[in-house]
Symmetry: C2
Subunit: 408 residues, 2 copies
């Protein structure tokens, strides 16, 4: 199975030390949903006073848990809340029985925690189209409840992994009026990753105080600059979920505080980059910087066209500074471009400008640079002030091996 | 180099016997543009009375020859005409010197053939961003002229190959009012293939009589149902060109003749399928039939979303009937879909319906079917009358090998 894949060469050295978030406790168990010999269900429970925000996949075939979360968000409730996530089965395209599974699980969590069902959120990740054996999860909810602890966020991060080769976490502290607000988040995801959606499973917690509307608005804005700017393979999951929970336990109201938004964005950017670093088969982490576009939207279109191009991604895998393929990807994107105004650099090596290869370009300079495991491609359109940065990985034999041989 | 790749397992048994087209002569030479030990330039010359139509890549970074052809089409000239094509260098993103190369070549062809320069069309295919050594081509134009023959269309098809593993040709005869009209075409292309553009290099010749406007309109319509419905890797070339030349030598006016349009579409469909069969690394030929969509346009969006999904394509490579990935690709496409109305079949095996796996589905049936080298995926949206068929190939280690190791 996929969980025995070797760790990505781009993985961080170790899981970070995440701070405890006042008012949030975590737990995990091995319920045997599909995987054997590992944990596969996490529970997070938040204290009363918590506001919850979320962004989700826009897929028209999105999963039953996603639909359930979407229906429950958007009210101003500040009860406690719980999030239960299983790996191994996505409960997507499972017909009406999928909704039954969600209802059974949320009812059981509500029963054990004393929370209203409307404050119990779930997610499922794994194979599509097989009924979720929810009885196995329901049977473990007492054990999950008993195991809840403020120190177990890493266990939660591990329980939600599927083809991930490492658990993902990030955190930030921010000082506001002399008081410290804390943010910590976990994520999973390594294939079926594309932007313009919430993208994979991400759970972020903070002890900041903020009403649900403001939290939702802040999440949508920061998501557009982070998770919606990454792509592994242009494919979008039916289960993508990103939730942000603010317990208010610090007592610090962060409404309108730019420093908090900046800290939140830092955490989201770090988590999104960890997802790219765990891209299926990835051997290179690629940052694509677009400047001089007619608009920010155009810049993102160009960036994603480059990031999703199989020919660009295979060239990077082959350490080939094949800038002609970058030109191709810009040309096909549909966004405004003028051949004679384009400038393309690999790292600090200017390769093309004024509609042609740069007169000072030496292929050996760019070839040397392509051997690094972090590569920056810079494109200036020469048209306006629009800019965007997107992140992706290369396309290798590893991606084919993982996806031609495993059922996901 | 790529021309030594083993022949695609999906290749036809042999190059077809193409009929001669009255009023068209072909020639090829080895000019050493890039490749050694093979022909790399073709010339086709058409007699006076010929009308010419063309569709081309919409890339904003399209090549100098494409821009030159676009500028020359659209007039009602019925002089003779010539098409010169080289492989090994695309003369794309070569700045103003690229235009000089086109001018030098077209002037030389005009000089030798006695045609006006406005009736000399060119195309170049191969590496992007390197100056075209046009002197090598110009030096061979006398030899090309001397070699012209009505029987040499196969030589022309071979001269324009790049990463192609077989030469591509197709033909049709159509009876109109007791007289025979003949159509024959050649194509090249195996990577950087995506629809919504003219897609790769295709040259089709007929002795039918038709004015240039009618010819252009017919070409655009049939292109939308053939070459614009195939994809290998979602990447679109900067050089895609499809030209149709009608010499009128049969004396048969085919204006408004549906039987001629049908015959033309047959030839174009056959050539477009040959391109897919030569898709880089392809081991499976995949037809995706979409029915019941809200519109024909929506059907094509769904079909291409499935055809371009790396996860669908790798599943097919692995002979895995992973219909969950088909559900995913429909969900992300952006076109209308309702999970509970979808029906998905692999060949004649109904795998999913009513938002869930079909009750009679047995995975071993679908798994057996996936071992074939031609696979049909059928999706009925259950929403309306919109339909479309698109064609693609699988995504294999071969694609990675070809594109991570070779400069294209």
């Amino acid at each position: 199975m996929a969980q025995f894949l070797p760790k990505s060469p781009l993985a961080p050295a170790r899981f970070p030390d995440l701070p405890e978030i006042q008012g949030v406790r975590f737990s995990s168990v091995a319920a045997g949903v599909k995987y054997q010999g590992r944990t596969d269900v996490m529970l997070a429970q938040m204290d009363p006073g918590t506001t919850v925000a979320g962004v989700f996949t826009r897929s028209s075939t999105r999963s039953a848990p996603v639909r359930d979360c979407q229906a429950k968000l958007g009210n101003d409730a500040q009860d406690g809340a719980a999030i239960l996530v299983n790996s191994g089965n996505s409960n997507a395209f499972t017909g009406h029985i999928g909704q039954t599974s969600v209802a059974e699980i949320t009812a059981a969590v509500a029963d054990v925690t004393g929370l209203p069902e409307t404050r119990v959120f779930t997610a499922s990740t794994g194979v599509i189209g097989e009924p979720l054996p929810h009885d196995r999860i329901v049977a473990k909810i007492g054990e999950l409840k008993d195991g809840l602890s403020e120190t177990r966020i890493k266990d939660a991060a591990q329980a939600i992994m599927t083809t991930d080769t490492f658990a993902k976490g990030a955190s930030a502290l921010v000082e506001i009026d002399g008081q410290t607000v804390t943010i910590a988040g976990i994520a999973k995801g390594s294939g079926m990753i594309a932007p313009d959606m919430a993208t994979m499973l991400v759970y972020i917690f903070t002890d900041a105080k903020l009403n649900a509307d403001a939290l939702q608005s802040m999440l949508a804005t920061t998501c557009d600059r982070t998770f919606n700017c990454i792509t592994v393979d242009s494919d979008t999951s039916t289960s993508d979920s990103l939730m942000l929970c603010a317990t208010g336990a610090s007592g610090v109201d962060v409404t309108g505080r730019d420093s908090f938004v900046a800290a939140l964005e830092t955490v989201m950017l770090e988590l999104s980059h960890q997802v790219v670093r765990d891209g299926e088969g990835a051997t290179k982490f690629v940052e694509i910087q677009i400047t001089g576009a007619a608009s920010d939207a155009d810049a993102k279109v160009h960036g994603l066209s480059i990031a999703n191009s199989p020919l660009v991604k295979t060239a990077i895998a082959g350490e080939d500074p094949n800038w002609g393929r970058v030109v191709m990807a810009i040309g096909k994107s549909g966004a405004a471009a003028d051949r004679d105004l384009l400038a393309i650099s690999f790292g600090d090596v200017l390769v093309a400008e004024k509609g042609w290869v740069s007169p000072n370009y030496r292929e050996e300079d760019a070839a040397e640079l392509m051997k690094q495991d972090e590569i920056t491609i810079k494109v200036d359109l020469g048209l306006g002030q629009g800019h965007a940065t997107v992140w992706t990985c290369d396309l290798t034999h590893g991606y084919i091996e993982i996806n031609a041989d495993y059922r996901s």
